[in-house]
């Protein structure tokens, strides 16, 4: 029987931790699975690296951004996206659980449903994404001539990027409570949008895109804003943006998931 007299946040954290540890134990039982998925995770980074190298062989800069700065953009995005696979990959199953009525079982257990769903799986591609994403970001960092003094700001940007990414994917997967389907189309589209547009300078896009990516679905604060601040494309006061965006994203994710659970009526209705 779970001890529900402890602080709710600590209790939820404990459940999350035990669930993730159980998933890690399961991973060790399937080594082939691990290596296939980790290699798949590296694929995007390798090809993005190749894309930028080919592109910058033809042009000196893109909207004022140079090769190593663009590597940092891609690297930070991959670390954030890969972290969601490691920390909350189960959230992608929300649509399937809703369709099959498998949220029922989780509602009856003494732990937040979102925590149970999020920790129900680890995306092993995340290991490859995070590892190679860090390599890409660090290579870009060194190549851009940035020193150790900027490391604290970089770490803050990285932490906020992971929180924002996890929260936004959770929020968009929760849309499946209303728009039924096994695929989390909205979350997938956001990732697709990020990989297509957020690996490029925002100056390339119309003002509407800048507004949406900063103030509606704040994906710009995952990688563009922190890297732009670190490389001097934006002023240092922009650094308050990522923590604010992280807080707003977490509140939105929790709120939307709760609303989704309220409208949940199991399967067959």
């Amino acid at each position: 029987m779970a001890d529900t007299t402890t602080h709710p946040v600590r209790h939820a954290g404990g459940v999350y931790g035990r669930s993730i540890v159980a998933q890690i134990r399961a991973i060790t039982e399937y080594p082939a699975d691990f290596w296939v998925m980790a290699s798949a995770g590296v694929m995007w980074n390798v090809l993005q690296f190749a894309f930028l190298t080919v592109l910058f062989a033809a042009v000196p800069d893109v909207a004022g951004w140079r090769y190593h700065e663009m590597l940092m953009l891609s690297g930070l995005l991959t670390v954030a996206a890969g972290s969601t696979a490691l920390l909350c990959d189960g959230i992608w199953s929300t649509g399937t659980y809703v369709l099959k009525g498998e949220i029922d079982y989780r509602i009856t257990r003494p732990a937040p449903v979102v925590v149970q769903v999020a920790s129900s799986h680890i995306g092993m591609q995340g290991f490859g994404e995070v590892a190679f994403g860090l390599v890409m970001a660090v290579y870009g960092w060194i190549g851009a001539g940035m020193g150790l003094a900027a490391v604290p700001a970089g770490v803050l940007g990285l932490a906020c990027a992971i929180v924002i990414e996890c929260a936004l994917i959770t929020m968009l997967c929760a849309v499946n409570f209303w728009i039924k389907g096994t695929n989390s189309v909205f979350a997938f589209v956001m990732l697709d949008l990020q990989h297509n547009a957020m690996t490029l300078p925002l100056a390339l896009f119309p003002a509407a895109v800048k507004l949406v990516t900063m103030f509606v679905l704040p994906v710009a604060f995952v990688n563009f804003v922190p890297v732009a601040v670190l490389t001097g494309h934006l002023g240092p006061w922009w650094l308050v943006g990522p923590p604010l965006a992280a807080a707003a994203s977490v509140l939105a994710a929790v709120g939307v998931y709760r609303l989704g659970l309220r409208s949940y009526d199991s399967s067959g209705h």
Binding site: V36, M37, W44, A58, G123, F186, F205
Partner: protein, 262 residues
């Protein structure tokens, strides 16, 4: 074509359009990649040209890529993958229907469900962005043949990717890797003409190149009629080759089937 193939394709078609909102949103948002590509290449090309593409030609190139990728990934790869991941493949083995052929029927049915929306999206893009037209009526006809060959080609690639589910517990990462390889080696991210020679060699030795570079090269007249026919032959050969390869890999991986630890 047997009636069972048509029946499976029809069921898949109906299943795809059953979740209308999900289907519509997935098609609408698919246009984001096209818009991002247009923004980037408009900035880079300006009034000049890159890799032999001026702005008009690049617009046609990107719109063809949008059309082919919208068609290609509208199939039922998730349904195929889940049959293996959930263990339903064990039930399929008892049925008097060839697994690969049945999945092909379902996949093509799913692709057909996306055709109207893909065509409307492409027509809208043509009206909005006014790309270069086909270099000749024959080139337009051969481009259409290339687009038709994408149906079996997309199935072949998707089938190989879902077979990995015999040794993995999840399909998402595999799908992501496959989509990335397609985006890069098809020439959607950056035209092959800008790649170094050795990388072009790698791209031309893979099937992905036939999703964008082949139809766009024929459409824009970057290859002559003989070259176009050669590319179509290569595309058809890949479709057949992937079918055979899928059968060979299936015969090995199906030995790994374990259901609920049994």
């Amino acid at each position: 074509m047997a009636s069972v193939d048509v029946a499976l394709a029809t069921i898949s078609f109906k299943r795809k359009i059953a979740y209308k909102s999900t289907w519509i949103f997935s098609v609408v948002f698919g246009g984001w990649s096209l818009l991002a590509g247009l923004a980037v290449w408009n900035h880079l090309i300006g009034d000049g040209e890159m890799g032999g593409y001026d702005w008009q030609a690049m617009k046609a190139y990107l719109i063809i890529g949008f059309l082919t990728s919208t068609l290609a990934w509208a199939g039922s790869d998730w349904e195929m993958a889940n049959r293996i991941l959930d263990g339903l493949v064990a039930v399929d083995l008892t049925k008097p229907v060839d697994f690969q052929r049945a999945r092909a029927g379902e996949y093509i049915g799913g692709m057909l469900a996306s055709v109207p929306a893909a065509l409307i999206g492409t027509a809208a893009a043509v009206v909005l962005f006014r790309p270069a037209g086909p270099v000749s009526p024959l080139a337009a006809a051969l481009t259409a043949v290339s687009l038709l060959l994408i149906f079996p080609l997309a199935f072949g690639i998707s089938y190989l990717s879902i077979l990995t589910c015999f040794v993995t517990q999840r399909y998402l990462g595999i799908q992501w890797a496959r989509d990335t390889m397609l985006a890069f080696f098809s020439g959607m991210m950056v035209p092959l003409a800008l790649m170094p020679g050795w990388l072009q060699g790698v791209a031309w030795s893979l099937p992905f190149v036939h999703f964008t570079t082949t139809p766009a090269s024929i459409y824009l007249g970057r290859v002559g009629t003989a070259g176009a026919l050669g590319l179509l032959a290569a595309q058809a050969a890949w479709a057949v080759g992937l079918w055979v390869l899928g059968r060979l890999i299936w015969s090995q991986l199906v030995k790994k089937v374990t259901v609920h630890g049994g």
